[in-house]
Symmetry: C2
Subunit: 418 residues, 2 copies
């Protein structure tokens, strides 16, 4: 994931779309303020409560949540909120407020109420998100005081502190801010994400907050959010584990004065920018996958019903992930995982290529030249590895990004405790 | 898995059924001979080719194979064999003969033909099994010579060498032999298994060979095999990965002179003995799960459609497995995995107990007494951990045995290469 180029769009699998210029990633679009404060809930004493707030009452918004049947109190509270007209979102990291029953819901409601009180709006116009340990009660007084303090100290340049406050096992904050040139003028778009473990491709898989000063109807904003998520956060896996807390919020202040109409060229430009931002953030989450050293992109082409289960089976196979960790082009494990996903059906001929080098053709291994062997070994030691699996009989396609499984994942997850 | 008691039935989750007496585990039932020889295909130079053969032409048999859509050449060849009247099975370990195309099938056929030639029977009456590395061609000459040599040296006491010859990453051979007291007299039953990684609950998940000197109709033998597998090898997982080579063979020589009739009390006794043997062997495979330090039994009770996917999701969650490795009663991860399996459905109330200590009741955490906390900590450090998850609204039940995920698994699987 390091190319030496100073750009947010570091991966070869993303590219800044046309008309997009990067700006200070901590700077929020017009109409937004944010902050992060420390309340002591992280053992490290780092920032742990963040607020992002829109100054304009005419804000529009959209949100997506985990599909896990077990959800945290903040997801329960946010789902009941007025999701198309949120004024603010309040977040804490270090404690996920999951498995905490009615008391947990009361704390999440109190967090929203505290921010609503400061903003002067209906508490149902404040979204809540939490991430961290499961099954421990949050201290309501401390967290509510933190939320108040964050709101009071929120500034247009507060995207930096906010993005730090939402991290848990992340190696560092994940954030970006861009200017997007539309026909009517320039609008700003920024996003802050967190995520490292408990990541599975079933959309959200993490927390993400996006802000723009463009004006959009809430239904259109939701369409843009769904499309961008489907091509980013929905396509990544660290450990196949769908979190109880995944949430994405996007808010449009309209403060730029530029209205983006439905199905307009401007809407397509903004959608492309949002997708590129989300895609790079999603890749950062995979690359940050609790000890990950390597990210792979797997593209499966074949019959429509096959490609998604095969892609997930391969990307979530601990054997494939350990092989990726060892830089081993172990195609036998890829075929085994694909075959497991296809159990019960007659097997169509498979073809497998890593970095464009064909390893399996028509289900059988292909002899590599010495030069191909050398290129393959080198490619497997790189930071990004490209794998293509073709299943005969169709042209549907599924793409999944995944990381290796190494010792750090085991250390982290056998020592990190409830 | 160590109780200090000198019995094959070491786990608290198995018990020797009534009328069963253990005997020398390397001794085969009457009518069988076996051997293991070294052909140099294992880098260690250890035994790597085994043969078990029945001296009686009136033998009956049954077999089960992996449901993976990608299978090894030996599975392809064995599936075409006369599975209800096998005279012998030939096995090699170190090379799975998978992804080896037509050449691989020819090698598997040659292995069967060599043994058939020595026995003087149709090659279709010889089963073939292989386990080990995927994607490398076997050297036909060496493996065929090994099969011939094994057959020539086969003895009634050769169950020991045979059980060693079939191992790969196993810590040691897995084998047992028992006498079963039936109404008409005593029959012998023995089994040899191998398996450590690439193990998932979808029946076979490993290699197993069982022999008895009872006489049974082949259809009844197959029923017994299916029932015993469903309660043993089908209920274990190491890494959720269904192998391309899983095979179970059972042969009945009839040499004891005791015929076991359909639906008889004797058949029930023999079925119970086979199930107990398979269950302990299956537990040994889990305990041997490439670096495993701890085995857990998860019992899920609830609505019929829920229990199996929930049990598998929890048992295969790398987060749950890492927590087990760390001796951490991390119920949040168990609920998260259960919730992922139940995605899209309204969540029924859940209750979770570890070693009988209730941790979650009605979906919420339960405060533990100091004494309960102490007992829980101690239980989590044991070799066998009992977990019970109840989903309201049904009384179906699914049981899965799984192991922890530790550093050795990562080391082994990132260094072991195709």
């Amino acid at each position: 994931m390091t190319t030496g180029v100073e750009t947010f769009f570091r991966s070869r699998w993303t590219a800044p779309p046309a008309g997009v210029a990067e700006r200070d990633p901590t700077r929020l679009p017009a109409g937004f303020r944010a902050a992060g404060v420390a309340t002591g809930s992280k053992p490290s004493g780092k920032l742990d409560v963040g607020v992002v707030v829109c100054e304009r009452d005419e804000v529009t918004s959209a949100a997506l949540f985990t599909s896990n049947a077990v959800v945290g109190a903040p997801v329960t509270v946010s789902r009941r909120a007025r999701l198309s007209e949120l004024r603010a979102v309040v977040v804490n990291a270090g404690n996920a407020n999951v498995g905490t029953g009615a008391r947990g819901v009361a704390v999440a409601e109190a967090m929203a109420a505290a921010v609503a009180d400061g903003v002067g709006c209906d508490p149902a116009r404040v979204g809540v998100a939490s991430t961290g340990i499961i099954g421990i009660q949050l201290e309501q007084e401390a967290i509510v005081a933190g939320a108040r303090r964050a709101l009071e100290s929120a500034t247009p340049g507060g995207g930096g502190a906010f993005s730090e406050a939402i991290t848990t096992s992340d190696r560092g904050p994940k954030r970006a801010s861009v200017d997007v040139e539309l026909s009517g003028g320039v609008v700003a778009l920024s996003a802050q994400a967190k995520g490292a473990g408990m990541i599975s491709p079933a959309f959200a898989t993490m927390l993400c907050f996006a802000e723009t000063d463009a004006a959009l109807a809430p239904g259109r904003l939701e369409s843009l959010l769904r499309a961008a998520s489907a091509r980013s956060f929905d396509r990544i896996t660290v450990d196949g584990q769908l979190s109880t807390s995944d949430s994405i919020f996007v808010l449009a202040s309209g403060a730029s004065g530029h209205r983006v109409g439905p199905d307009s060229e401007d809407e397509r430009l903004l959608a492309a920018a949002l997708e590129a931002l989300f895609r790079q953030l999603a890749l950062e989450i995979v690359a940050d996958g609790e000890g990950a050293e390597r990210v792979a992109r797997l593209t499966v082409r074949g019959p429509a019903g096959c490609v998604e289960p095969v892609a997930r089976a391969v990307a979530n196979s601990p054997l494939v992930k350990c092989a990726l960790h060892g830089g081993d082009p172990n195609w036998g494990r890829i075929l085994q995982a694909a075959g497991q996903a296809l159990s019960g059906a007659p097997l169509p001929p498979l073809a497998l290529a890593i970095e464009g080098i064909g390893l399996v053709e028509d289900g059988d291994d292909r002899e590599l030249s010495a030069e191909e062997g050398r290129r393959l070994d080198e490619a497997m030691r790189g930071a990004e590895v490209e794998i293509a699996l073709d299943i005969a009989g169709g042209d549907a396609e599924a793409e999944v990004f995944f990381c290796d499984l190494g010792h750090e994942y085991v250390s982290f997850n056998s020592e990190y405790s409830t």
